[in-house]
């Protein structure tokens, strides 16, 4: 009899989950809420970690490997730490490059200043690089678009830059663009090199995986404080933060692409007489081009998504404007800046894709003028517009509108948006407010309380138990270790709040995604439409999502959660569509011939088979949600994000705290990832889909 029960439990996962739930509930209710009780909260044995990390960072900056460096001002040698000199030279180099591109387009004398004597420059104030008139830039964007993808891209580029210019966003847009133009190639080169290295050497790949996992799940904010400590404030710091965040997907895509190449293609390359270098550059990389370019695309999108966050460490441009507008609750202005960011993202996205697909024509027999027609037109237009703008200097007395339309003089639709928002606010105030109140008091409040009232032993039992049932003892220990690491810090309560917000948003986003995805995936057309809608929404920097919700729901958990839900619905939808589309046609036909109804087919055939893929989408929603929840700190929440954000203003122990807390968030995401991935793998194997 007893043995029988044991066997049932051993073979039935639902039974195991049931027992786990009972144990969890017992622990939850029986463990007394008492600060001295270790079952309730663990002591902060690992409280030293942030302090230690801080010490390491500052020791590296000021003590390790002192070098004798010539100080030109005091005319003497000075002891300086090698690492600091290293970070300084990186900062200088990056700043130079960004300023170079910026001045090339906007004019100025900072770059010239680098090459000539200060005093001489002061005496010769004619010595500045002239700004590129926005008129010429618009013609340039039009021609570039035309060269890359015909009239459609030409119009996109032309109208896009025309809009940016006459709405007064020309200067911040160029600042952002210069930032992207420098950061993207660096991410590309770094990502490609590490990706190739990982592809060529298995050991490197194995070592890279966990590092990439952590890097991709750390909240962006967490990098900012250490970067300020190491590199100081400025555009270069923003660029470095972006590089740290945008390079991992590039590495991933490169490895993925290279691994997908069929061995025959490699052999064909070898038999064609390629040397190793030729094989790499002429066969492997071009064949993996699609994935690598997807990587580049992701990098560009990440760069633009980062512009707002980068503005916290001193990057100028649209991001800074957006941040300022948002801080002062100027929704209209914020929306304008956000729209410019999206516009630039879309233009760069389309242009790079078109450029990647460009084909060489061997049979065109063109004269010099035919071949360089567009370049010549561009050159001429720069000349003409510059001359006109220069002459116009005499006509305009203060601001030369032919060079630049400053933001306060440009067209604007901000007040329309403000008016619209006001209207919505006035019309729906009561319903919005009562919805908000209802959600906060009836759902979110109790949920938060329930999470905070969870004894640590119950939490650990639940997570480790789930991990054990799904993935076995190793997964359980891994997840348990990660949770324990968080639980033994003094930030456990904050972590619980983050978890509660993430749980709520993940559940809502997954439900939305599965429903929307299922509806659209019924037809091929629908799938295509919804996937391109997903593409469109993914070009939005995460920040943009916060703009409307703040206004509608004020600065509450609701705002952040709704932004997180909307943001994370995108991957859930995408993976649902992928999963449903991957159900073999023969199974649909078998279902139809068995006489299933539409709903039966959905519940009995489509969803079970698509579920492993859908779960991978849920995995993504976890990462997306955590990013947004942490980002929510910016508008005021009280979870880990708030502390990470707060660390920005704490120069002394900030870096250590930020890294530790960021790591916590990353560990939460990785714990979920470990369990879900394992489960999806096993389901796939069981269904014969692997």
């Amino acid at each position: 009899m007893d043995k029988n029960y044991l066997n049932i439990i051993r073979s039935s996962k639902p039974a195991q989950f049931g027992i786990l739930l009972i144990v969890f509930l017992l622990l939850y209710n029986l463990v007394p809420h008492n600060e001295g009780n270790y079952f309730w909260r663990l002591p902060s044995l690992l409280g030293f970690i942030p302090i230690k990390l801080n010490e390491i960072i500052y020791a590296a900056l000021y003590e390790w490997f002192p070098l004798k460096v010539w100080d030109p001002i005091f005319e003497m040698y000075e002891e300086k730490a090698a690492f600091r000199e290293f970070t300084k030279s990186i900062s200088k180099g990056l700043l130079f490059l960004i300023t170079f591109v910026r001045e090339l387009l906007l004019g100025g004398d900072k770059i010239i200043d680098v090459f000539v004597n200060d005093a001489w420059l002061k005496d010769n104030d004619w010595m500045t690089w002239p700004a590129l008139p926005w008129t010429a830039a618009t013609v340039g964007a039009f021609l570039l678009g035309f060269q890359l993808g015909g009239i459609r891209l030409a119009l996109l580029g032309g109208i896009g830059s025309l809009y940016v210019s006459i709405f007064g966003n020309w200067v911040p847009s160029i600042q952002t663009l210069s930032f992207v133009l420098i950061t993207t190639p660096i991410c590309f080169v770094l990502g490609l090199s590490f990706g190739i290295w990982g592809y060529l050497d298995r050991k490197v790949e194995t070592a890279l995986q966990p590092v990439l996992n952590v890097m991709q799940t750390m909240p962006q904010f967490a990098y900012l404080v250490p970067i300020i400590a190491l590199f100081g404030l400025g555009d270069h710091a923003g660029s470095i933060a972006t590089i740290v965040i945008a390079t991992p997907p590039m590495i991933r895509n490169t490895i993925l692409g290279l691994k997908r190449i069929s061995p025959e293609v490699v052999e064909a390359g070898l038999m064609s007489g390629c040397t190793k270098t030729q094989l790499l550059f002429k066969v492997l990389i071009p064949t993996a081009r699609r994935d690598i370019l997807n990587g580049v695309n992701t990098v560009i999108m990440q760069c633009l998504a980062m512009v707002v966050i980068a503005s916290f460490v001193g990057a100028k441009g649209l991001g800074l404007n957006l941040k300022i507008a948002l801080n002062s609750l100027k929704i209209g202005k914020a929306a304008e800046a956000g729209f410019c960011i999206v516009l630039i993202a879309v233009i760069l996205d389309r242009f790079t894709k078109a450029w990647a697909n460009k084909q060489v024509d061997y049979f065109e027999n063109l004269t010099f003028f035919q071949r360089y027609k567009l370049l010549i037109i561009f050159g001429t237009s720069i000349l003409i517009f510059s001359i006109i703008a220069f002459i116009a200097n005499g006509y305009f007395d203060k601001i030369n509108y032919l060079y630049v339309i400053p933001i306060e003089k440009g067209f604007t639709f901000a007040h329309y948006i403000d008016a619209a928002v006001d209207w919505v606010w006035e019309t729906f105030f009561y319903s919005l407010n009562s919805f908000n109140k209802f959600l906060l008091t009836e759902v979110l409040g109790p949920m938060k309380k329930a999470y905070l009232g969870m004894p640590v032993v119950a939490t650990l039992t639940l997570t480790m138990g789930v991990a054990y049932i799904i993935g076995g003892i190793r997964t359980s220990l891994l997840v348990g270790g990660m949770m324990l690491f968080i639980a033994m810090s003094k930030y456990w309560d904050r972590a619980l709040i983050t978890m509660y917000m993430a749980t709520f948003a993940v559940i809502m986003a997954s439900l939305n995604g599965i429903i929307v995805g299922s509806i659209f995936a019924q037809t091929e057309r629908g799938s295509k439409i919804i996937l391109s809608v997903c593409d469109f929404f993914e070009t939005f920097p995460s920040f943009v999502y916060l703009i409307p919700v703040i206004f509608l729901f004020n600065i509450t958990d609701t705002s952040v959660l709704i932004a997180a839900i909307v943001y994370a619905t995108v991957p859930a939808t995408r993976y649902t569509v992928w999963g449903l589309n991957s159900v073999p046609l023969s199974l649909h036909e078998a279902g139809t011939m068995s006489g299933v109804s539409r709903i039966q087919r959905w519940t009995n055939i489509e969803i079970p088979l698509a579920f492993p893929t859908i779960m991978l989408g849920v995995n993504q929603t976890v990462v997306f949600t955590l990013q947004m929840v942490i980002l929510g700190a910016l508008i005021g929440t009280e979870d880990l994000g708030q502390l990470i954000f707060g660390a920005l203003s704490r120069a002394q122990d900030g870096p250590g705290v930020a890294i530790t807390l960021g790591l916590f968030v990353s560990l939460m995401a990785i714990s979920v990832d470990v369990i879900v991935r394992k489960w999806a793998e096993e389901r796939k194997k069981a269904l014969g889909l692997a």
């Binding site: 025959e264 070898l270 007489g273 061997y362």
Partner: protein
């Protein structure tokens, strides 16, 4: 004249301690024992020559080691032991630079799944081996155009591989492998991924090309009919061992092992056997108007022989009479018994 390709005692064993296991076994490799030790035997003691202008077809089912043998000879994988001479030089001893040089000058290879570079057009794919060799763009494109014409793809120079049918893609693969004008031509199941009708068409095309080009060829296939159709000689492989290596008609007439016999049983004799194998050499002075040649395939001349009322003489390639043929023997081949 020395053979173009000469293999002696070539072994290829996959696994961590293949080298030690092989030297312990002293060349006497038992696949089962090796498998227990965690090694998989790909090629087991292969020794053979391929002469200048000859087409050797390596036939075997999947997992028989035929592709592995081909890859050893092109050194896409390194043989575990043995000697592989290409024009008298052991390629197993070559360094990377010599190997690249050899492939650029002497070798061409066609792959089962075409292995075209997806980012290059037909023309660029064909010109690729020339371009990595350092030939100027203009010259390589010019040469590639010539090859396009040779394989009958004129008008599709600027198509991408994805825009072509399987047969057309393989024509590109063939053109690419021939672009450097190699002496040795490796074909790894080149027509296996194609539909039966296209396959037949490509085989004809291949025979036409070979009659013009006269390369030294190693052709791998799992299709015995294809082997019979194309080969000068056939090597039949099983579990890494060459079971029999002989001319097609000899293999059909005298299968060396039971395994080979299984393949030959269903082969229509008249399609393989030559007049030579059923003629009476005893009567060199046979009179009569009608003559057939010693190397005519029986099927092609059967009607001529059977509809004639006189005795038919057999002549060799110099047109001198070497024997006669008895219609009853043709009937026996055609209808068995």
């Amino acid at each position: 004249m020395s053979p173009t390709i000469s293999c002696s005692s070539v072994y290829k064993i996959f696994g961590n301690n293949a080298q030690t296991l092989l030297s312990e076994s002293g060349g006497n490799v038992d696949a089962k024992k090796f498998q227990e030790a965690g090694c998989i035997v790909g090629v087991n003691d292969a020794s053979f020559d391929v002469n200048q202008g000859e087409m050797l077809v390596v036939m075997g089912l999947s997992g028989s080691g035929k592709s592995t043998l081909l890859r050893c000879i092109s050194r896409l994988t390194d043989a575990t032991s043995g000697k592989i001479l290409i024009d008298g030089e052991d390629i197993c001893l070559m360094n990377n630079k010599q190997l690249v040089e050899l492939r650029r000058e002497k070798m061409g290879m066609v792959f089962q799944n075409f292995a075209l570079l997806p980012h290059k057009t037909v023309l660029e794919n064909i010109a690729f081996p020339l371009q990595v060799k350092g030939v100027s763009t203009e010259n390589s494109i010019y040469k590639a155009l010539e090859m396009v014409e040779l394989v009958g793809l004129k008008g599709r120079e600027n198509y991408f591989p994805r825009e072509l049918s399987g047969g057309q893609q393989q024509r590109v693969g063939i053109a690419r492998s021939l672009a450097v004008e190699p002496d040795i031509w490796f074909l790894d199941e080149p027509f296996s991924a194609l539909d039966p009708l296209i396959r037949k068409e490509m085989q004809d095309e291949f025979l036409r090309l070979q009659s013009v080009l006269n390369k030294t060829i190693m052709f791998v296939t799992h299709d015995f009919d294809e082997a019979l159709r194309l080969a000068d000689r056939i090597a039949i492989m099983k579990d890494g061992i060459i079971e029999q290596l002989d001319k097609p008609d000899n293999i059909v007439l005298n299968p060396a092992t039971d395994y080979v016999r299984k393949f030959t049983e269903d082969v229509p004799r008249e399609k393989v056997l030559k007049i030579e194998s059923i003629m009476d050499a005893s009567d060199p002075n046979a009179s009569g108007e009608i003559a057939v040649k010693t190397d005519d395939i029986i099927e092609t001349v059967a009607e001529k022989i059977l509809s004639s009322k006189e005795i038919i003489k057999v002549v060799d390639e110099k047109n001198s009479v070497v024997g006669s043929i008895n219609p009853s023997k043709v009937i026996k081949v055609l209808f068995g018994g």
